[in-house]
Symmetry: C3
Subunit: 130 residues, 3 copies
Amino acid sequence: MIQKTILIETKRREEMVNITPQIKEFIRSSVKDGRLTIFVPHTTAAVTINENADPSVPRDITFALNQISPKLKEFTHLEGNADAHVKSSLIGCSQEVLIENGELLLGTWQGIFFCEFDGPRTRKAILRLN
Amino acid sequence: MIQKTILIETKRREEMVNITPQIKEFIRSSVKDGRLTIFVPHTTAAVTINENADPSVPRDITFALNQISPKLKEFTHLEGNADAHVKSSLIGCSQEVLIENGELLLGTWQGIFFCEFDGPRTRKAILRLN
Amino acid sequence: MIQKTILIETKRREEMVNITPQIKEFIRSSVKDGRLTIFVPHTTAAVTINENADPSVPRDITFALNQISPKLKEFTHLEGNADAHVKSSLIGCSQEVLIENGELLLGTWQGIFFCEFDGPRTRKAILRLN
């Protein structure tokens, strides 16, 4: 088992942070073939895989998620971030990525993004190789 | 391979049931390090990880999911539960959890919830250690 | 490590294609017990598990996803498919399936669907046994 926790400093309430470079660095010199779990130990954040080329894509996804899961007047959670908890369950707190010949097996346009829904905060993501 | 199927008796049409205690009991005395897959073999239910401290969080998530995936008049599925099938695909029927030193590697506030979207029913979740 | 890439020819902009038969063929004669990762290397597609019996279910899910993630006038991504990127992150680009006694451990009604959100295209899904 090889495991590492990386830190992510988010700067806005909602933000998608590209963590592909840290993940590539982690698997370098680690394994030739295997599988990587990326686990986010937070309940108002998530991790997703999406387009890494045009920065308008994470911006549009962040915008759309605010439409899909707005702050609702019926929410009862007193911290005022129930919308962020909903987004966390919609996107999910883990991703599985395959490794082949020591490289992340991602599609041409894919990158891995930490999704902040209730920032800014210092956040963690756990990387585990299997 | 170590595997167990747990039963969940749901009491309402939509409900999030905390199954963290059963999962902790399953991994106790099983492994020191590893990975657990939680797989829900149903198409109108799901499994998610979210806040386990304040019961208003699962209640607000359940409420929001009814806004996000309401019953639509255009649905053609005759059983009348297409909204539940949509929610199942949005949340997902499996979760991966890491185990470290024999403990679930969850964040401070995280718990694992079985999500019922078309209950009440007797449901299953399959726990598999790898 | 046993891995295979399958091709999926989609025929519409939005479509759910049942890929359970190809996956069953892949695991046949491969393993007795294990776990299968299905990874979609695209950012406007996804993979989900849902009801495989009544074709109205994938049709209703596709319809509902168009309501949940419509084309928004505020989107800035110039390719005009930001709605498809949003759907990809909502549904997710991978699924984990358990294998027991050489068979997919799916529920009675479950099938595995490739989700096209910006077709028609020739798409891939990577199957990896662990």
